[in-house]
Amino acid sequence: MRALLAIIRRDLLLVMRRKSEVLTALFFFVVVTSLFPLGIGADAALLRKIAPGVIWVAALLATLLGLHRMFAADYQDGALEQMALSPQPMVLLVAGKIIAHWMVCGLPLVLLAPIIGIQFDLDANSLSVLMATLLLGTPVLSLLGSIGAALTLGVRGGSVLMSLLILPLYIPVLIFGAGAVYANSVGLDISGHFSLLSALLILALAFVPWVSAAAVKIAIE
């Protein structure tokens, strides 16, 4: 437990040392979502229709962008090796890193989503559903992402390869997440979407840290 906290603290400290890094995932999210009205035109009805999809895709990409940071830097300078040689089980360290990643790249998106939503002219009800789906979905994104980050360690062109591996796995989250917001806006029942998202989260929590730990071990060998 102490080690888990230590690793979270360490990762957050590293992020804080570069103040810009805390904000950049956020800004990326904001900029990408702002690009769409520019590329598509400012038709309010159209924007409202595509809002959930666009916001969710932007969240996906923003998460992706921070993923390379999860293990790559530690791998390169040998710190990951040292962690593998510490008496802590690898799963714990991996879990710590996933949590830290979510706190930097996931949580801020959830908090910022309402502001973006307003830009797309969503009403209060939709906004709250959007936030709820993001709150359930972004941890899954961080978890699944860790697998890709671990598998592509030390592989040249890793960050692009990683997106290739990870994005297909993200699709269910995207479908249910954006689907819930859309269903809500047309007055359908959304409890099904939420229970599916929760199921994804629970499954991911239960299995992914072990998978990622195995992948990290393979990479170090």
Binding site: A3, I7, G78, Q82, P87, Q88, P89, I220
Partner: protein, 215 residues
């Protein structure tokens, strides 16, 4: 095996043993059927020309990579079976310094202590850094340090980490004469207190109880 009659002697006699180690890199066999045995209070100096497989051997001994055949034992237990207890006793320094460039020397030290489950007070950490000539630079981020100063931070880690077995890959690199001296003393001290050391170096090391393994 279920009935494991452990005959561990009450004396703290630690043994690192490699039996029949074989290492293959790419299509090249680096060494085969290598047996080594080091006990408490001894130092093994692995020598050999560039590319002969010193680093590869050291990584096998730490368990970071697996031998093609053969096994490594720590106190008669295979290290593959219970790595956590082995790693508790182990300190490995590789070619790379494994310091986070954005953190200060002090923070790096404290972070590793937390990961290694070692209690380390601020004073102890500072004292360790000062001993190796980093006074006044404790709060400088590591990327501002010179090549030798980074290695000195690692020496401070060696001091604070209470590991019995040190595996050091070319620890004398980039150190100035005084620091080399200091490090040698540290190793001698460690051996004297019953530790084990495995190291590589292209220079002579003047350490008592040193066995040389020519690869």
């Amino acid at each position: 095996m279920t009935a494991n009659i452990s005959t561990t002697s009450s004396k703290n006699d630690l043994v690192l043993e490699g039996r029949g180690l074989r290492c293959v890199r790419g299509e090249r066999q680096l060494f085969t059927d290598l047996n080594i045995r080091i006990t408490s209070g001894n130092c093994l100096h692995v020598r050999g020309e560039n590319g002969v497989g010193k680093t590869s051997l050291l990584r096998l001994l730490t368990g970071l990579s697996k031998p093609e055949s053969g096994e490594v034992f720590w106190c008669d237990h295979s290290i593959a079976i219970d790595p956590a207890t082995y790693h508790r006793e182990l300190l490995f320094l590789g070619h790379r310094d494994a310091l986070k460039e954005d953190l200060t020397a002090l923070e790096n030290l404290q972070m590793y202590a937390a990961l290694d489950d070692v209690a380390l007070s601020q004073e102890q950490a500072l004292a360790a850094l000062w001993r190796f000539g980093l006074r006044g630079r404790e709060n400088l981020s590591v990327n501002c340090l010179s090549a030798g100063q980074k290695r000195r931070v690692l020496m401070a880690r060696m001091l604070t980490r209470q590991a019995k077995l040190w595996i050091l890959d070319e620890p004398f690199n980039a150190l100035d004469i005084e620091a080399v001296h200091e490090l040698r003393n540290l190793i001698i001290e460690h051996i004297a207190s019953g530790g084990l050391v495995v190291l590589t170096s292209h220079q002579e090391v003047h350490i008592p109880n040193v066995q040389v393994l020519e690869l």
